[in-house]
């Protein structure tokens, strides 16, 4: 596969420490498109080895608006279902530029390891020095070891190593959309995580037309008024959680966006620094970046201040545990009690619909109504919208905001980018075959 692709599928066997590469053929793309279309196919191909499959969306890392996402596909140790977790921030794009579109991890390692994927090379590395350490400490250690502050990581912390049902795979330093206990799965495989870095080049079949259409679509997006807003508080207010902006105000620092995503879906809370500071903090760890809007509001509903909520979210990210599950299941109301309860978290979190998409993503349209009203219609739309976003690599929350990102123009760009004829019929078929 020459275009919009690195042309490579990486297959790592943790049992034998063998690393193989497979070609990503045009025929596979014509049949499965990309993202979870392809990771579902690869999961099925290797399912006897209980694989973790990581994949990038077909448009990920390009000029298509919000083309930020990769995905993890695996069987949830909590629900027993094949599930798909978006990979956000700048990490999804780094995976693609590190040299592989898809990575299959089979089996379990006899001792703790991490996978170092860089510029088309994959190393199975000894994780003895970071096993037992928190997510932040592990990411710091790997960045220092490689000598690159832009190294992107996907890591578990003590929760995953200890087998917690709500252990989360975290991204760099931050909580992730993982509500499936994938952290527990990583831990059971003695897999501490991944480090990615790459300087690759992705070629495009018709580059001028691809970029021109991308800009036309971006201009349409910018005409939609919601881009005047920034950060997580307006999203929560739009979802009916009133007073969030006022509650968060005393600790809100800045808002940031995932790769090429027009709306800033992340908000930094400064906990041990002046939130209004407009220079580099002298404090190495002044706060926490929040993308998990529903976890945040769960702690608000427990009666915590925004400052205490930030402290708990930071502790969850370091320990590698799903903050939403902690808020919903801990039964505590103080920072000290909540953080002391991490190892005891148990119970069930409802996963909506077919159970294959994460409720980290709100299950309703945001800012725009998409001409939907009936709740059944909204759930069907949400599942399809999530599937489409994760086939093409579009930020899954942004896709709920932005009607200008259509299946039609994603297919158009996919065809311009690959030189293949990818049709609505193909997309419908891929969605129908994604397991849930």
């Amino acid at each position: 596969m020459e275009y919009l692709s690195t042309d490579k599928i990486l297959v790592i066997d943790l049992n034998t420490a063998e690393v193989e590469e497979e070609e990503l053929s045009e025929a596979l793309v014509e049949e499965h498109i990309g993202g979870i279309g392809m990771t579902s196919y690869l999961y099925d191909k290797y399912k006897a080895d209980d694989p973790i499959v990581i994949g990038t969306g077909l448009l990920a890392g390009t000029t298509y608006p919000a083309s930020a996402s990769a995905q993890i596909t695996a069987k949830s140790p909590v629900t027993g279902k094949i599930s798909h977790c978006p990979v956000i921030y700048k990490l999804g794009v780094e995976i693609k530029y590190s040299g592989f579109d898809y990575i299959v991890v089979k089996g379990s390692s006899p001792s703790p390891v991490y996978l170092w994927i860089h510029d088309g090379v994959a190393d199975i590395s000894d994780a003895a020095d970071i096993w037992g350490k928190g997510v932040w400490e592990s990411t710091d250690a790997l960045r220092k070891f490689v000598g690159d502050d832009l190294l992107q990581t996907m890591m578990i912390g003590p929760a995953g190593e200890n087998g917690s049902d709500y252990a989360q795979v975290c991204y760099n330093y931050w909580s992730s959309p993982d509500r499936f206990g994938f952290g527990k799965l990583f831990g059971a495989k003695n897999l501490k995580g991944f480090a990615f870095r790459g300087m690759g080049l992705i070629e495009v079949a018709e580059p001028e037309a691809y970029v021109e259409r991308s800009l036309e679509i971006l201009k349409q997006v910018k005409e939609n008024g919601f881009l005047e807003k920034k950060g997580i508080a307006p999203i929560l207010e739009a979802l009916g959680h009133e007073g969030v902006a006022q509650w968060m105000g005393p600790v809100t620092h800045r808002h940031s966006a995932d790769y090429f995503t027009p709306y800033a879906t992340n908000t930094a809370l400064f906990l041990d620094e002046d939130p209004g500071l407009l220079k580099e903090s002298d404090n190495d760890e002044p706060g926490v970046i929040v993308s998990d809007i529903l976890a945040l509001v769960e702690f608000k509903n427990l009666g915590l201040s925004a400052l205490d909520t930030g402290r708990v979210l930071k502790a969850c990210a370091k320990y590698g545990i799903d903050p939403f599950a902690v808020a919903r299941l801990c039964g505590k109301t103080s920072v000290e009690e909540i953080t002391a309860s991490f190892d005891a978290i148990s119970g069930e979190i409802a996963i909506p619909g077919s159970g294959m998409f994460t409720p980290w993503c709100p299950t309703t349209p945001i800012f725009n109504d998409f001409d939907l009203s009936d709740s059944n219609e909204i759930m069907a739309w949400w599942e399809r919208r999530q599937a489409v976003a994760m086939i093409f690599g579009i930020h899954p929350i942004f896709s709920l905001m932005c009607p200008e990102l259509t299946e039609e123009n994603m297919l158009e760009l996919a065809s311009l980018g690959t030189g293949l004829e990818l049709t609505q019929e193909t997309l419908d078929k891929v969605i129908d075959t994604i397991p849930g």
Binding site: G61, T62, T63, P65, K90, V93, Y97, W136, D149, L150, N172, Y173, M199, G200, L201, I202, E203, V204, P207, V211, E212, S214, L215, L218, V221, K222, L227, K230, H253, R254, H255, S256, A257, D258, Y259, F260, T261, P262, A264, A268, F270, L278, K279, E280, S281, N283, D284, E285, P286, G287, I289
Partner: protein, 118 residues
């Protein structure tokens, strides 16, 4: 005429970096961009932009814009930043002179209008 950067509007999405590199490489990459999203201080949520022009390196940070003449001796009291070195090796901004339909691509693609033309 030159590029004007408002680091307080920037959301660190890297759109500028991607399209600048596209302008150089006719493909998608990050390696050739003369404008980059500065993101090395992630835990501090400290970000902005770096722009290499022919003779100067422009550092746009939340506290303001600093223009450093390339080739001048660095201030010994300032802590060096490893990200500056690869920037100095890149070609300077040419305002996308060959991209007649767009003008500077970083301006056209910035979703929050943090980059404008002076």
């Amino acid at each position: 005429m030159g590029i004007n950067i408002n680091a307080l509007k920037c959301t660190n999405c890297m759109a500028c970096e991607m399209v600048c590199s596209y302008h150089r490489d006719d493909g998608f990459a990050f390696l050739s961009a003369c404008i980059v999203a500065y993101r090395a201080k992630e835990k501090k949520d400290y970000f902005g932009m770096l722009l290499k022009e022919e003779d100067v390196l422009i550092v746009a940070r939340p506290e303001g814009v600093e223009i450093n003449k390339i080739g001048e001796e660095a201030d010994p009291d300032k802590k060096a930043d490893a990200s500056a070195k690869p920037m100095l090796l890149r070609e300077g901004c040419d305002l996308c002179e060959e991209m007649d339909d767009y003008g500077p691509m970083c301006i056209a693609f910035c979703p929050v209008d943090a980059i404008t033309l002076d």
